[in-house]
Symmetry: C2
Subunit: 311 residues, 2 copies
């Protein structure tokens, strides 16, 4: 008997889910992994989820600041990001030549040659996490008030990790609350959100767990940093099964100790280096979890879920 | 008599306005021209203006799609943008080396050397205008319905033109309605918005004029393209005095003829290449015009303006 015809390798659960999202028009393919268009329904789900987060924050006194998806390159260089996550950073390069260079560039594009080296680095890098531009901004204001400060941020973020897992986009939105103050203020804030987060996600009919976590630090030295972060309980994640064997981190709860306070020179009212913590909401990931668990048609989602989002 | 002490050159109106925005906390300095944080009030003004635009669009049947601030590099290469505006484009480069390269990169950062050449171009470029990723997306769907199509887009856009004019940011948001169909459908759409636009802006207590315009095409050959664009009446702008001697283009009304239809292969129902037009709303520019004319404190804006935005 002849050999059976070869079949394509089995698609991962993540790729199957991605194709399902494309098929339903929830996401639109662009030709680059991790770079997708979003449907109007997808956008509305994110808007309604943002409103739920605002309601959950309740009477918290927050200052809202919005930063664009790019920030100054010197800020990234000083932040330590290139030490920990060099492979994820994105730096914007532009063409700065004259007309002769331009003719050459167009010729290279026409020939399918690599024209990108005709560009030079600009002063702009892509924001890797919504809170990065905040710390130097706060430092410039001088010592914190005795109650510390609490910020409400939202930004597109870039991470260079092309993937067919729809929950791992190269450009995605993150909302963050960032608390800066004394160790007690900052740890209280994180505790509060470690309670609020799962309650909020369960109200959307989604299963979830909180787990200790670490950042994907680069290289061999990074393993030590990751272990250290776990040993000290600095990072927790709220995990929801989306499309992978392992559930996906949709919220994260990070205690930075005085890392950013010392780095940027943010002082508490008593003069000591400020501590900070943030809770981050992965907006695309939460939306994807909702489409995964409740189906591709928003109008058919369970009434209790619709009531929470559109109520 | 001794020479008088030298004074700094007089600040331009744009720089004075920028400093006023910084002073009032409406914008936040980051250290790079054209890259600023936005206050909560600024964001709310944009949100309320977006709602006004939606109300103005009324019963128009639109499909909303949202694209992230980056798009595939091949899409930009094919679009012709590098021919017309090479100096404005931004291409994302990332570090793709191993641990030894990483050690060298960190050493260069520490020494203040230029480490950016250790990066390579990724597949991602920054979106120059909200509608660029739309055309290939529409082309893939096949021929248009007889009524054509109308899309509602919003995206962060990047243009490499560092400036101290707050109305010329490097990263800014643009909402766009894009009509694709027959020449008549597309011209009707543009006519409608050439009426709606000024009416909407005047309802916000802002003075405005509509004028013929051209894009800032690169180089000597660009001058001809610009003249051609003007001669054919392809671009109009809604101008509001903001902070420059010349008023600022806050909305633009563009008729592309069959340029994108032919380039991307979008067919009308009758098989001919589709025509397209777009109306673009510069969200930061409109917000800045409001702060300029009505003052730095949103609560003190004239009641009729507040009624339109918050009514």
């Amino acid at each position: 008997m002849d050999a059976l015809p070869q079949t394509a390798p089995a698609k991962s659960g993540a790729k199957q889910f991605l194709d399902q999202l494309f098929g339903a028009g929830v996401l639109t393919e662009t030709g680059v992994d991790g770079l997708y268009g979003r449907s109007g329904d997808f956008e509305e789900v994110i808007e309604r989820f943002l409103a739920l987060v605002t309601r959950t924050a309740g009477a918290d006194v927050v200052e809202r600041i919005h930063f664009p998806p790019g920030m100054p390159r010197p800020m990234l260089e000083k932040s330590g990001y290139l030490k920990s996550f060099p492979q994820l950073a994105g730096c914007v390069h532009s063409f700065m030549g004259g007309e002769a260079d331009h003719a050459q560039l167009l010729q290279m594009v026409a020939n399918g040659e690599d024209w990108t080296e005709m560009q030079k680095a600009t002063d702009v890098v892509l924001t890797p996490a919504a809170c990065y531009p905040l710390y130097p901004t706060v430092a410039k204001r001088g010592p914190l008030p005795a109650d510390g400060v609490l910020f409400d941020l939202q930004s597109y973020c870039f991470r260079h990790e092309p993937s067919q897992d729809p929950a791992r986009m190269q450009l995605f939105r993150m909302r963050e609350f960032v608390r800066i103050g004394s160790p007690e203020q900052v740890r209280d804030f994180r505790e509060t959100w470690l309670e609020r987060g799962p309650e909020m996600i369960r109200s959307l009919g989604l299963p979830c767990d909180i787990d200790l976590a670490n950042d994907p630090f680069f290289g061999r030295a990074g393993k030590m940093l990751a272990n250290n972060q776990r040993d000290q309980g600095l990072k927790f994640e709220l995990l929801i099964p989306v499309a992978n064997e392992k559930p996906t981190a949709c919220l994260s709860f990070n205690y930075h100790q005085d890392h950013f306070g010392t780095l940027w020179g943010i002082a508490q009212a008593n003069g000591e280096a400020a501590h900070s913590a943030c809770v981050g909401f992965g907006l695309e990931r939460v939306a994807l979890a909702l489409f995964r668990h409740h189906g591709m048609k928003v109008a058919n989602w369970p009434k209790p879920v619709r009531d929470v989002l559109w109520g």
